[in-house]
């Protein structure tokens, strides 16, 4: 599995994100004062540094903000899959919250599954979770005909 060699470090600030992913939920940090969403997770909210941020579940729907198609030279596990896609998804709840991910054709589909020509900025997507280890279920994305710009 390509993600395995590059699994995230154990980061206490990010733990709720990965706990959510194991439950199949996309959770994002929120400023307790202003209600603004924050990503990546922080120790404090920049808008209210004296109040601890909270975590909230979001819909898991968004639109493709951009994408790239990497080709070699890459790390070995990714070279085997190249060319594959990397997408940036703007969340429905706040389009300035953008998650790096991959477009797949199904929850267990490979990251080189979708034809590059079929990937477009503005397409609606919804989150799926791919188990790459017991601790880490990576959020990836499938097209969602109901969404998009």
């Amino acid at each position: 599995m390509p993600g395995e060699a590059l699994l995230p470090p154990i980061d206490p600030e990010a733990a709720p994100f990965w706990e959510g992913a194991r439950r199949g939920e996309l959770v994002i940090q929120q400023c307790a004062e202003t209600g603004r969403l924050m990503f990546p997770p922080r120790s404090t909210s920049p808008w209210a540094p004296r109040r601890d941020p909270v975590w909230v579940r979001v819909s898991g729907r968004g639109t493709i903000w951009s994408f790239a198609i990497p080709h070699p030279p890459l790390l070995p596990a990714f070279s085997e899959l190249a060319p594959y896609n990397v997408i940036v998804v703007a969340l429905e709840e706040d389009p300035t919250i953008r998650l790096v991910g991959n477009l797949v054709e199904a929850a267990d589909g490979p990251i080189n599954g979708p034809e590059p020509a079929a990937i477009a900025i503005g397409s609606g997507v919804r989150v799926v979770f791919q188990r790459v280890s017991e601790a880490f279920h990576l959020p990836r994305w499938v097209l969602d005909a109901a969404g998009g710009d």
């Binding site: 390509p2 993600g3 060699a5 590059l6 699994l7 995230p8 470090p9 980061d11 990010a14 990503f39 990546p40 920049p46 903000w65 951009s66 994408f67 790239a68 198609i69 990497p70 080709h71 030279p73 890459l74 790390l75 990714f78 899959l81 060319p83 594959y84 990397v86 940036v88 300035t96 919250i97 953008r98 998650l99 790096v100 991910g101 991959n102 990251i111 590059p116 900025i121 790459v132 880490f136 990576l138 990836r140």
Partner: protein, 380 residues
């Protein structure tokens, strides 16, 4: 503010190659000695040092090998390609403030011989990289490819615009015998046929991988008048780290297409009598061609979203609206984290560039867009 209180009076560099035998330390010393010779200043007079945090030779090693005097100012600037103009600018501020009298800034690197940072021992994600690398966003080129695709979508830019940058800079290198790409012509057909590295970016949108070192010598304006070479005055200097900014993967802000260059430029021009309109030639950090489009906008040569259109009709070439990267830059001369852009800026002001721009009064030199960055305005 600087306002010409200090000047670059010496520049030096090693040859550039895919592989050089000397160590990074030896290359650094060669470049610094060449810069001191150019200035007509003895190593024992050096009392200020500035470089990059990623530099492998620290000040202690550098000073004892060089035979420097007592060092009374030393600094290292972070963020890789964001550091070059900041190293020189901080040194100039120190000279102007009397903290040191003869400052040397340098960068030495064997990237041509060495490994690629993204593939090395640090391949395991750091805390910030945990939000990118597990999905295969591995290399700087992938990070910039995502910004580029969005830029194309929002502003109608095409690969032809990126090619305008690559071709303009290559033509500069084709007249610079020191450039790695001196004898390698590049056509638009070559560009369009090149393999992709990370779509939409192809091979020729990427900088070179080079071994080499460069250095420059900074003294006060008063001392500069007695040096061997005509001074390149350090008119203005700024750094920029925008609020809520992320290094390279700056997708988590309101507008990822408005990067650190905007913050840096605002501060730069605030402390400058020279405006974008007065700048005759620019050395833009060009690890990737799209950084030039973003920098044209950030530093005020055109409006936001107009960087691609600006490149048309040979605008970036000799005789164009704003010739850029006149030694060949990182794309076609050497990639040494942008220090070659500084030395070329000095040569333009002196009138000794292999691609001289007629009547140069001022040259802009920028560091990397997309990282906490810096810039200098050099003037005659």
């Amino acid at each position: 503010m600087l306002r010409d209180a200090a000047a670059v009076v010496g520049i030096g560099e090693t040859p550039f190659a895919k592989h050089l035998e000397d160590s990074e330390r030896k290359l650094a010393l060669r470049a610094i000695l060449a810069a001191l010779d150019d200035a007509g200043i003895e190593p024992a007079e050096v009392d200020g040092l500035a470089s990059y945090t990623i530099e492998s030779t620290d000040e202690v090693e550098l000073a004892k090998n060089l035979g420097a005097g007592d060092i009374t100012f030393f600094t290292q600037v972070g963020y890789g390609g964001g550091a070059g103009p900041a190293a020189v600018g901080q040194l100039a501020l120190a000279v102007a403030a009397g903290q040191c009298r003869v400052g040397v800034a340098w960068r030495s690197r064997k990237r041509g011989s060495g490994g690629r940072p993204w593939a090395g021992a640090g391949a395991q994600p750091s805390a910030p990289a945990q939000w990118t690398r597990p999905w295969g966003l591995l290399r700087p080129v992938d990070e910039i490819a995502l910004l580029t695709r969005r830029y194309m979508h929002e502003y109608g830019a095409t690969r032809d615009h990126l090619a305008n940058v690559a071709l303009a800079v290559r033509k500069m290198a084709n007249r610079n015998p020191r450039a790695l790409m001196y004898e390698r012509k590049l056509t638009r057909e070559d560009y369009m046929a090149a393999r992709f590295i990370s779509e939409p970016l192809c091979l020729f949108d990427n900088c070179l991988e080079t071994d080499g070192a460069l250095a420059c010598v900074v003294v006060s304006a008063e001392r500069a008048r007695d040096c061997r070479q005509p001074p390149a005055y350090l008119h203005a200097f700024a750094q920029g780290l925008p609020r809520q900014s992320h290094t390279m993967v700056n997708y988590w802000c309101d507008d990822p297409l408005q990067g650190p260059a905007w913050t840096c430029a605002r501060q730069l021009y605030q402390n400058s009598e020279i405006r974008a309109d007065d700048i005759d030639v620019a050395q833009f950090y060009d690890a990737f061609t799209p950084l030039v489009l973003l920098s044209l906008e950030g530093y005020g040569f055109c409006k936001k979203g107009e960087g691609a259109a600006f490149t048309q009709d040979g605008a970036l070439e000799i005789g164009g609206r704003l010739p850029i990267n006149t030694s060949g830059g990182g794309l076609s001369e050497a990639y040494v984290h942008g220090f070659n852009l500084i030395n070329e800026g000095v040569r333009q002001v002196r009138g000794s560039s292999v691609n001289p721009v007629a009547g140069v009064a001022a040259c802009l030199v920028t560091a990397g867009e997309g990282v906490p960055t810096s810039a200098l305005i050099l003037r005659k």
